[in-house]
């Protein structure tokens, strides 16, 4: 330690001779070269690690959660705390899906909706009619006109729907009970519309997740890794060294043990699952002066802070992602 202090306390002579200066310069240049080599080596390592290919179809653990995605939860009319600052708001009574819409459910929709002419398949894309929004010409607002809009692409590598024949579709093996993703707001809206339902408003979504108290998470005040699927939550579906975080089956976090992985029962007060994490969920509000649609719930790709029930995200209605899904209300 003494030597270190002595070394660091060195205060070179103010005036160096030319020979001393030359030696010092050579020494510094040599030192800089070594430093540069080390940095170049580290950079190469990082670059190599960063360019590794990702197997998007890596085997997916197959777990039956016991939660039926066809069930609906009843939410009574009344007041509830809305938003981070607990504003008191009111909703009418409504029903909302207990889970996100699954890949299997959406595949069934594609099959029947296509045969009914509700959707079309054009250039490897599912498109459908949307009646459009009122345009107010506000800065950054984009016109959403009546017409055919993208519901979902078929050519995206993250798509988990596979064709079972020329006119029917099914879920990729292992993904049957996973939330449907890579779906645009139009695709989510179209699904609900087709069955006579609708997307929940932001208020309905939050009340369904929060109940009537001011909890930040559907299950209570704190979040543990066994509560939800979020970024680096060490669930059985993720591998952060390769493909990263992946979706979990709907209703996975229900207190069951899967192999050696114990989950906590993380249902909301009204019995909804996956209201925090797994996938962001489209909501139905169309706000004046903006074309963005709002997403709630956080996802497998976000930190726990985004899983708080009042956190809002938004995107253009034509946006799709492997981290975005939806559920319907009626």
């Amino acid at each position: 330690m003494k030597r270190l202090i002595a070394f660091m306390s060195l205060r070179g002579a103010d005036v160096l001779s030319r020979a001393q200066r030359s030696r010092s310069v050579r020494s510094n240049i040599s030192f800089n070269k070594r430093l540069l080599r080390a940095v170049a080596l580290a950079t190469t390592f990082v670059l190599i690690a960063s360019c590794a290919p990702v197997d998007l179809n890596a085997p997916m653990p197959d777990f039956e959660t016991g939660i039926d995605p066809d069930t609906w939860a009843q939410v009574p009319a009344g007041e509830f705390y809305f938003g981070q600052h607990n504003h008191i708001e009111t909703t009418d009574a409504y029903e909302i899906m207990v889970t996100d819409v699954t890949v299997s459910q959406y595949a069934d929709f594609l099959t029947t909706a296509r045969s009914d002419g509700f959707i079309k398949i054009v250039n490897e894309e599912v498109i459908g009619f949307y009646p459009g929004d009122e345009f107010h010409g506000v800065k950054h607002e984009e016109r959403i006109a009546a017409g055919d809009w993208l519901f979902m692409p078929f050519n995206d590598p993250s798509i988990r729907i596979v064709a079972t024949s020329k006119i029917s579709w099914g879920a990729q093996e292992g993904y049957e009970n996973h939330p449907m993703t890579t779906i645009t707001w139009f695709g989510a809206w179209g699904y609900c519309e087709y069955y006579g339902w609708r997307l929940p408003t932001e208020m309905e979504w939050e009340k369904a997740g929060r109940g009537t108290d001011d909890r930040p998470f559907p299950w209570g005040d704190e979040i543990l890794r066994e509560n939800a699927n979020f970024y680096s939550s060490r669930d059985p579906f993720e591998d952060m060294s390769s493909f990263g975080s992946r979706t979990s089956p709907v209703g996975f976090y229900n207190g069951r043990t899967y192999g050696d992985y114990q989950t906590l029962d993380s249902a909301s007060p009204y019995g909804l699952y996956d209201m925090a994490g797994n996938v962001w969920q489209w909501t139905g509000d169309v706000y004046e002066g903006m074309h963005y649609r709002f997403l709630r719930g956080g996802s497998k790709d976000t930190y726990d802070m985004d899983l708080r029930l009042w956190v809002r995200n938004n995107a253009t209605p034509a946006y799709f992602s492997p981290g975005v899904g939806f559920r319907c209300a009626r």
Binding site: L10, N32, T43
Partner: protein, 491 residues
């Protein structure tokens, strides 16, 4: 007792001591609170720190906590810049003592009680003391403006090497004065909404409401406040570095009026955000930012030309390699301007690119992606300002030889490695899909964690060294007690 008195006198009575204390405080806050997010949270370190320190983390208070954390760190940085100004510029001794004393009590009060309030249970007395600390810093700012008043003939200059009017008005002092006055005024844009807290104004983070077409005047005020305060901290450190390096000559005469003009117009634009001028406020901001950045470029050109000239003076006709070698010979003198240039890659460049392609690219992505770009680029700017301060501090310490090289180049390489990775991370969606990004994200995270982690280790080594030094009867601190920054301006 004398032992403590002497050290206290150095730490709180000398410019270098005050700077050391403030850097140490920032280092401690950064080290502890850096463990509550990012990879540290992923590894479970966050939970250990929360339990070990007895923190009370309430989910709904996260945004408020972060705002207080930012203010605590920013106030220490503002204090450091103030110490540098009072150490570098001529002013009455009374003002120097008063400003340094008030701002020291101010930032320490802000930091200790602010962080106490935010992270250890909402004790409202602590909140009051946090506000008291901020008020003291404001008062110190007002005193600094008075002390810097450039129209006092006492501060007129005649040296033709420096920008001045025919009467002798020191344009560099005017630039400092303009930055100080606008900083004091701009702080009010945060203080006013803050005073409405609990009376209708609610805590928010600007990056979370960017896409909302309707914002209240209070929200615009806060958004303007945070942007201009960071910009002014950057402008002030540019002026400080210019003074330390003894910026002069023709480029100085061009740069100083530009810096004054840029500072004033930039502020008018930002203040205009809360007025009916809001629709054209961004245009005014661009008009103001351009001369400021051009002035910084002139400082860079002058600084680098001088380094090349001085370090190749012994060579009759230096070639390119010799010039380059001369330029980078001293990382502490080369580094500040380099970091300013690098800032264009991490901050200005990204900002301009985002502004041009906003609706076409960035607003097609989800808001959370846009948030990453926004928070990333101003975190990068803050980090760059911190590295510039550390580079200057290295020179203040009188580091020589290999230690100087190691210290200087480590700061430059480590921070630039981390911030380059941050910038790529922000922009990753331009070239990689969400589904395929993980290996890239991992690689970038290695670079960010390594860069910032090692930078903090370096800072820790320096702080430990300075702590050990304080226990030595004839340590470096005894010399620093009487040294003043103005005497060390490079000739």
């Amino acid at each position: 007792m004398q032992f403590v008195k002497d050290r206290f006198s150095y730490l709180f009575g000398s410019t270098k001591g005050l700077i050391l204390v403030a850097i140490a405080m920032v280092a401690v806050v950064t080290a502890i609170w850096g463990m509550l997010s990012g990879p540290m949270a992923e590894m479970g370190v966050r939970e250990v720190v929360i339990k070990a320190l007895g923190m009370k983390i309430v989910q709904s208070e996260r945004e408020g906590r972060i705002i207080i954390l930012y203010h605590s760190i920013a106030m220490a940085i503002i204090a450091i810049e103030t110490y540098m100004i009072t150490g570098l510029l001529k002013m009455k001794p009374f003002f120097k003592t008063a400003i340094n004393g008030v701002i020291t009590i101010g930032y320490l009060t802000t930091m200790v009680f602010g962080m106490g309030f935010a992270y250890f249970g909402p004790n409202w007395a602590f909140h009051g003391l946090f506000i008291t600390g901020l008020a003291l810093i404001f008062f110190a700012g007002v005193m600094l403006c008075v002390a810097l008043y450039p129209w006092n003939p006492e501060y007129y200059i005649t040296d033709k090497e420096y920008a001045h009017t025919k009467k002798g008005l020191d344009m560099e002092r005017v630039a400092f004065f303009a930055a100080a006055v606008t900083t004091v005024v701009s702080s009010l844009f945060g203080a006013v909404p803050g005073s409405y807290y609990g009376h209708g104004f609610e805590t928010f983070l600007a990056e979370n409401i960017i896409r909302y077409p309707e914002k209240t005047a209070m929200e615009y005020s806060v958004i303007g406040h945070l942007h201009i305060m960071l910009a002014l901290i950057a402008i002030m450190i540019t002026l400080i570095i210019g003074r330390w390096l003894n910026f002069k000559g023709l480029l100085h005469k061009i740069a100083m009026p530009l810096m004054i003009l840029g500072t004033i117009v930039l502020n008018l634009g930002v203040w205009g955000v809360v007025t009916p001028l809001e629709p054209i406020a961004h245009m005014i901001i661009y008009v103001g930012a351009t001369p400021s950045m051009f002035a910084a470029l002139l400082l860079l050109i002058w600084n680098w030309s001088k380094l090349i000239r001085d370090n190749t003076a012994h060579i009759q006709k230096p070639n390119f390699i010799q010039k380059l070698s001369g330029l980078v010979r001293d990382p502490l003198k080369f580094g500040p301007a380099w970091q300013m240039l690098f800032m264009n890659f991490t901050t200005s460049g990204i900002g301009i690119f985002m502004a041009i392609k906003l609706d076409e690219i960035f607003r097609v992505w989800p808001a959370r992606e846009e948030r990453i770009e926004l928070t990333g680029h101003w975190h990068a700017l803050s980090a760059i300002i911190a590295t510039i301060i550390l580079l200057y501090y290295g020179d203040m310490l009188g580091l020589k030889g290999k230690v100087r090289q190691l210290y200087g180049w480590s700061i430059i390489f480590l921070s630039d490695l981390a911030l380059s990775a941050v910038t790529i991370f922000e922009m990753k969606r331009l070239f990689i899909s969400e589904a395929e990004q993980q290996p890239l994200v991992n690689g970038l995270m290695y670079a960010i964690d390594f860069g910032l982690g090692m930078l903090l280790v370096l800072l820790a080594v320096v702080m430990v060294w300075r702590l050990i030094d304080l226990f030595k009867p004839k340590g470096r601190w005894t010399e620093e007690q009487t040294q003043e920054l103005a005497q060390e301006v490079i000739e």
